[in-house]
Homo-oligomer: 561 residues x 2
C-alpha cells in the first residue's frame, strides 16, 4: 500500500517538495526537478539524470558532488516531459555541455531525445547514454533494447565521477557507455505495488510465487515459480548473470537492489549467500552496494547487478560522492584495528586450578549430563505446561540452555578449569542460549553460584549451600518477582531454605530439599501469576503448576542423582 | 511479508553475517554482535548499543567513527543475552570504560544490567542510559517507563559524538541522559509485520485504519482511527509532541522514521507537511533526518521525534559520523551556488516582436480558446474511445495540454511576444502537461510548427502550410509510426497534404482539409493498431476510430472557426 499522501495526483509534486525542503543544503528545486544547491566549476559537464517518480533514491536522491548535477522528476512511473528535461538541463549546465542519462523506456527516450535536440539547437552541446542492463528484457544480441534498472546507479556514478574529474562531454559519454555495456542485472518480484490513491495494486504476484525478470513497473518477465530459499535464489541470480560474463572479466562492482517491499535484513541474508558464490567463481568483489537503490514504491522484489570493471571504471566507481542517498568517502580518517586484537579480547581462558577443584568440575559434568537428559525427557511436557499461559517455549528454552551449559562445562573441564570457572562458563552458556527472562536468570544464577566455589579446592557442602543462596539472591535482585508470584522462585526459595536449614550431609540434605521443591512446585497450581506478559491469560493457568517452578524442581531432583 | 531467508531460526545470524561481510571495511563480527573494524584511541569511552534484530539500521548499522563502538545483536525482536552484551563490550572497550545504551524494554534492561554488573566486577567501569522517548507509553510524570524508539538514534549519536570528542564516561552519561530527557517520539502504524518463516503477521491493523501510539514490536497503543491524509497526520503528530515542549525550547533536531512498510516518497510528502507546522510554532529545525531509522521488519508505520537542543547537544548532533547507515559530514568540500543564478537559467523571456506578429499572436489566442472549449466538450467521449484499447486518459490528456497551452499563450501575448514565440510557449506548455506519448508529440509538433513563423511579421498562408508540415515532419521523426498504424497520423498526414495541395486562400483551404482529416479519422475504425502498449487489446478497437486521430481532426476543425 501507499498510505501517506494528500491529493494523489499531487503525490510526485509533494514528494519532490518535501525532499528538496529536507535536503535544502544539497539540492534546489527547479522547474522540472532539482539541481545541486552547491557550486560547480564553469565548464564542467552537467550530468542530468531522471525518469518517473516512485523509484527513490532514483533519481533526485543522487544529485550532488560526484554524481548528478540535476535530476528530472516525472510523475509516478511516468516519463518527465521534454520541457522538464530541458528546464533542468538549462538550470544545471555550466558551459561544459550536458550529459543526459536515464533508463531505457520508450516514453523517456522520446522526451529526453526531444530535449536533447532542443538543447543542441540552443547551442548547448548535449549527448546521451541510455541505460540498458536488464538481461531478461532482450537477448545479448539486442542488448540496446534492454530495460534500464539498477544499472542506472552504475552509469550515473561513473558519469558523475568522470564529469567531476574534469572529463569533457565526449569523455563522459565514452566511460558511461562503457559502464553501461559492462553492466548486467536480473530481478525477481514477490508482490506488486500500489499507486497513491489506488485501492488495488498495479499488478499482483500470487502468494508464495515469484515473477522472474519482471521490470520495475511490473513489465512482464520470463516466468513465474515458487519463492526460493535465499541460498537457491542467490544461485539463480548469480548463475544467470555469469552466463554473460565477458571474456577475461574478474573484478566487479556488485549491487543487490531491494525494490521496496523487502527489508535490509533480507538483503543482508541474500548477500551472505551471493558473495561466496561470486568468490567461488573467481569474481573479485569491489565496493558492493546492498540496499534500496532503485525502488518501485512498495513492490517486493530484489535484483542482482554485476558491473565488470577495468582500471579506469574502478577508479571512477570508487571516487567520492556526496548526495542525499549515495555517499562514498568519509569525513573522518580511519585506520584499521588489528582484527586479532579484537578476537583476543573475548578469548576464553581459565585461571590455574587445583587437582581437587578439577575433580569437582568433572563431577559437575556427570550431574550436568543427568540434568540435560531429564530436561530433554520432559521438554514436551514443560512446553505444554507453558503454552497454557505463555508462549510454550519453556521446554525448548531449558533444553537449549542445558545443552549449551553442558557443552561449555565439558570444554572447560577439558581445558583444565577448576569447578568455579567451569560452573561460571556453564552459566554463561546457559544464559546465552536459553532465551527469555528465565534463561537470563538461570544463567545469572549459575554464574553467581560459581562465585561461592573455588578453583583452588574441592567443593564442600557449605560451599554448595552458599552457592545456591548466592544464585537465589542474584535472581531475586534482578527478577522483580517474589514467592507466590507463580515463578521458579516458588520452588527455588523453599529449596534454598530447606538446604540451609538441613544440617545433614549434602547427600541427605539435597534430595530432601529437592523433594520440598517438587511439592512446592506442584502447589503452584493453586496460584495465579501476578507478573509478566502472561498476565492476560493468568486465569487459564489456575489448576496447572508453573512450568518454571516445575523445571527447577526437576533440575534439583535430578542433580541429586 | 518476510520473503528472503534460509532457516528462519538462523535469520538474525545470517543477517548479521551478511551485514559484516558487506561492510568488512567498517565492522568486524564478534561473539554477540559486531564492533568497529577501525582503530580508536586508548582510553576512549566505548559506546555499546544494542537490542533485538529486525530494526535495521538499528543497531549494527550505527557502528563506526562518531557513533557506536559496538552493537549487540539479539534474535528477531528479542533482547540479546547478558553474555552477548558482555562479549561485545569486552571486544569494544579501550580502557576508557563502557557506555551502554538501548531502548527501554524489560528483557533488554535485565540482560544489559546483568552485563553491566559483570563488567564493573571485572574492573571495566560501565554505565548505562536507557532510552525512553515514546510519549504514548507512559505519562510525563513516569517518563522513565516510556519505551525507547527513534530516540535510540538521538541518544546514540550524542553519546557517540561525545565519546569521540574525548568526554570521559561520566561526561558521556551526562550528555546522553540530557539527550534522552530532551527527546519525544510519537508513532502510528498502518499494518503489522511478519517474522521470517511465519505465514501470518505478528499482529494486524484493519485496512484503512491506523493504530495510534503502537510500539515497534506491536505493543498496544492508545487508540485506533481511520488513516488520515498526510496534512492531518502531520498536524496530529506535531501537536502531540508540542504538548510536551519544554519551557523556552526553540531549536530542535527533527526525525521522521519509517517503520519499514512505508516508502521514502511517503515520508517526503509527510515532511512537506510537518516542517511548515513546526516552523509556524517557532521551532528552528536543525539537521533533520527523514528515513528508515528504526524499522520493525515490514511493519507499515511512521513516527515523529523532536529532540530539543541546547548548544552542546547541537554541536554533538552536528558532529561528523561515518557508519554503514548514518553519516554526517562530507568527504567533498562544497560551497553554495547563488540560488538566483539557478532561477535565472530558465526564466521565460521573449525576444522583440513586431506589432503585426503580436497581432497574429492575439488571433492565436482566440483560436486556442475555441480549441480548448471544444476539447472540454468532447473530453468524456475521447476518454471513452481511448478506454476501448488504451487507458482512457486521452480526453484528460488533451484538455490538460490545451488548457496549459492556452494559459501559456495568454501569458506570452501579455508579455508582448510575437506569434512564433507565443506558439512555441504554447507547445512547451502542452507537451509539459498533457502527458503520455501523444502529449509529448503534440508539444513537439507545435514547437516545430512555431519554427516556421516569425516574431517580425504577421502570419501568412504559406507560413501556416509550412508550419503544419514542420509539425508533421517532427512528429514523424520521433513517433515511430506511419499512416495506417491507427494513430493521430491517420488524420494529420491527409490534413497536411490536403492543405499543401489546396492553393486557395487559407480561409477556404483549411476547413476543406479539416473535413478530409475528419473523414480519415472516422475511417480509422476499420484499422487495427500496430504499435504501442495497447497492442494486446488491438482487436477490441476494431470498429472504433482512433481517439488520437479523432481529437486531431476536432482540433483542426475547431481552429477554422
Amino acid at each position: 500500500m501507499t498510505t501517506v499522501f494528500n491529493d494523489p495526483t499531487q503525490f510526485a509534486h509533494d514528494m519532490l517538495a518535501g525532499f528538496c525542503r529536507l535536503h535544502a543544503d544539497a539540492v534546489q528545486p527547479v522547474s522540472g526537478g532539482c539541481v545541486r544547491a552547491t557550486d560547480t566549476p564553469e565548464g564542467k559537464v552537467a550530468v542530468v539524470i531522471g525518469g518517473g517518480s516512485g523509484h527513490y533514491p532514483a533519481f533526485a536522491g543522487w544529485v550532488g558532488p560526484g554524481m548528478a548535477d540535476g535530476a528530472v522528476v516525472g510523475n509516478i512511473f511516468a516519463s518527465p516531459s521534454a520541457q522538464q528535461v530541458h528546464a533542468v538541463a538549462k538550470s544545471a549546465q555550466r558551459g561544459g555541455g550536458v550529459f543526459l542519462s536515464y533508463g531505457n523506456y520508450a516514453g523517456d527516450v522520446l522526451n529526453f531525445d526531444l530535449a536533447q535536440e532542443r538543447l543542441n539547437a540552443e547551442g548547448i552541446p548535449t549527448r546521451t547514454v541510455v541505460v540498458a542492463d536488464d538481461v531478461t528484457s532482450a537477448s545479448p544480441e539486442e542488448r540496446h533494447k534492454r530495460r534500464g534498472t539498477t544499472g542506472d546507479l552504475v552509469v550515473f556514478k561513473i558519469a558523475g565521477a568522470a564529469a567531476e574529474a574534469g572529463y569533457d562531454l565526449d569523455g563522459v559519454v565514452d566511460v558511461a557507455q562503457r559502464a553501461n555495456d559492462a553492466t548486467y542485472s536480473f530481478a525477481v518480484a514477490f508482490a506488486g505495488c500500489t499507486l497513491p490513491g489506488d485501492a488495488e495494486p498495479l499488478f499482483t504476484v500470487p502468494k508464495g510465487r515469484m515473477a522472474v525478470g519482471m521490470g520495475v513497473h511490473g513489465e512482464p518477465g520470463i516466468g513465474e515459480q515458487d519463492v526460493l530459499p535465499s541460498a537457491d535464489l542467490a544461485r539463480m541470480l548469480v548463475e544467470k548473470l555469469l552466463d554473460e560474463r565477458p571474456e577475461g572479466a574478474s573484478r566487479a562492482a556488485v549491487l543487490v537492489n531491494g525494490l521496496g517491499g523487502i527489508k535490509y535484513e533480507e538483503m543482508f541474508v541474500l548477500w551472505n549467500d551471493i558473495a561466496p558464490l561470486l568468490e567461488q567463481a573467481g569474481v573479485e568483489i569491489v565496493a558492493p552496494e546492498v540496499g534500496e537503490l532503485i525502488t518501485s514504491l512498495d513492490m517486493a522484489g530484489v535484483s542482482l547487478t554485476l558491473f565488470w570493471l577495468d582500471a579506469e571504471l574502478e577508479d571512477l566507481w570508487l571516487a567520492p560522492a556526496q548526495t542525499p542517498a549515495f555517499r562514498r568517502g568519509s569525513a573522518i580518517a580511519t585506520t584499521r584495528r588489528d582484527p586479532a586484537e579484537i578476537e583476543e579480547a573475548v578469548a576464553t581462558t581459565y585461571g590455574p586450578a587445583s587437582p581437587q577443584s578439577q575433580a569437582s568440575a568433572r563431577e559437575l559434568v556427570a550431574i550436568g549430563q543427568r540434568i540435560t537428559q531429564a530436561l530433554h525427557e520432559h521438554e514436551a511436557e514443560l512446553g505444554k505446561l507453558d503454552s497454557i499461559a505463555g508462549d510454550g517455549d519453556h521446554g525448548r528454552g531449558m533444553t537449549s540452555g542445558a545443552d549449551a551449559a553442558l557443552a561449555a562445562l565439558g570444554e572447560a573441564v577439558n581445558a583444565g578449569a577448576g569447578v568455579a570457572s567451569a560452573l561460571a562458563a556453564a552459566g554463561d552458556a546457559w544464559g546465552d542460549r536459553a532465551g527469555g527472562t528465565s534463561g537470563a536468570l538461570w544463567g545469572a544464577g549459575l554464574r553467581a553460584a560459581a562465585g561461592a566455589l573455588e578453583d583452588s579446592s574441592a567443593v564442600t557442602g557449605a560451599q554448595v549451600r552458599a552457592a545456591v543462596r548466592a544464585g537465589l539472591d542474584h535472581i531475586l535482585s534482578y527478577g522483580k518477582a517474589e514467592r507466590g508470584d507463580k515463578t521458579m522462585l516458588d520452588a527455588l526459595i523453599p529449596f534454598t531454605e530447606a538446604l540451609e536449614q538441613d544440617s545433614r550431609d549434602l547427600a541427605q540434605a539435597w534430595p530432601a530439599a529437592a523433594e520440598i521443591a517438587t511439592t512446592e512446585a506442584d502447589a503452584t497450581a493453586d496460584l495465579t501469576p501476578r507478573i509478566g506478559r502472561a498476565r492476560p491469560l493468568a486465569e487459564r493457568s489456575v489448576g496447572h503448576p508453573d512450568p518454571g517452578a516445575i523445571s527447577l524442581a526437576l533440575v534439583v531432583r535430578t542433580a541429586a542423582g
